[in-house]
Symmetry: C2
Subunit: 204 residues, 2 copies
């Protein structure tokens, strides 16, 4: 997907999406445990929720004591995030070119957001993440996974997305100069189609 | 290792061990997230911390709202657990034959405890866990892992232990009639030699 296609798709569903996913972590305590662990491992400094949507997880990171802000392609999502969380900063923008100096971030959360990138474009995105992370900074990626060995396109309800084998994604992060900290794979719940993957890496 | 050998080894180090591991989760927020998630997923009912040592995690489970008790082979460990946590129940015993009726437990935590079992004995232990779990009950296993495909004996500081490939362990739990919920693999910290594995399964 291009940024434009993803933006248009999310703009169209911003209200519905925000209402559906506001409390998504309530039913996923293990996933919440990964976010909580990430929040504790991140060194002091700014943390970006990239592809933040309506900002529900930006608010979670803030509640865990982080200096968190959100970024999203979709103006409608950003408007909703600002309305729901007026105490936090949200900006429109793309994760492919961040308005952040080298080493300017202590942490990045990309929670089911990079999934819309064409797989061939992901190395450049990971290079950008590596650029903006400070040494010791952490990156937490969440994604639909697959037990196979290849990325697989699927009909995500909002916009075309790709499932990632966790080994393939871990390999790309390693090539981007990031070091694996931990990985998590959860079997699908009754309302999910695919396994949930989390990959936590850090910049050495 | 036989139960007798494991008991003797842990009896000899109970005080040192208890002092070293009391706050072990403080530096391992992701591992703590798995325990917290487990605590939320466990249905109402009794939860057993099997191989509880000095009872530090039994106390964590209790603090998370569970009806938790501890079991350990080592009388010295049980004495220490009772002294440190007088509000909780601790019993001497073996995980190979639990004094629990069929379906009597809502949850089992086996945190780096079954690692001393001979790998060939583990299917019988998992069958016992399956017997005592109620339908919907959860089992969380923690262990030193290996990136290889075979179990590997190693010189654990207290007693001979075995590292498990997470796939091999997941396969054994499946054969025991348990369903995978999630798996977690963390790279070693500076004070660890091996990857840390967690496997969460439930009885259907």
């Amino acid at each position: 997907m291009t940024d434009t296609a993803t933006r248009t798709a999310y703009d169209a569903v911003a209200t519905l999406y925000a209402d559906m996913f506001r409390d998504v972590l309530d039913g996923l305590p293990l996933d919440r445990g990964m976010i909580t662990g990430f929040a504790e491992l991140v060194p002091p400094g700014p943390v970006a929720d990239l592809g933040c949507g309506p900002g529900h997880l930006t608010a979670v990171l803030h509640s865990l004591g982080l200096d968190a802000s959100g970024l999203d392609l979709s103006p409608a999502m950003i408007a909703r995030a600002r309305a729901d969380h007026p105490h936090l900063r949200f900006d429109e923008g793309t994760m492919t070119a961040l308005d952040v100096p080298d080493g300017g971030l202590a942490g990045i959360l990309a929670w089911y957001s990079f999934i819309h990138m064409e797989p061939a474009d992901l190395p450049a995105v990971l290079a950008e993440f590596h650029r903006v992370l400070a040494p010791g900074g952490h990156l937490l990626l969440a994604f639909q996974s697959t037990d196979g060995t290849e990325t697989e396109a699927f009909d995500h309800k909002v916009a075309l997305a790709y499932r990632w084998p966790i080994d393939a994604l871990a390999d790309l992060t390693r090539r981007a100069g990031l070091t694996e900290v931990a990985r998590f794979l959860r079997r699908p719940t009754e309302i999910e189609r695919f396994p949930a993957g989390n990959l936590l890496v850090r910049k050495p």
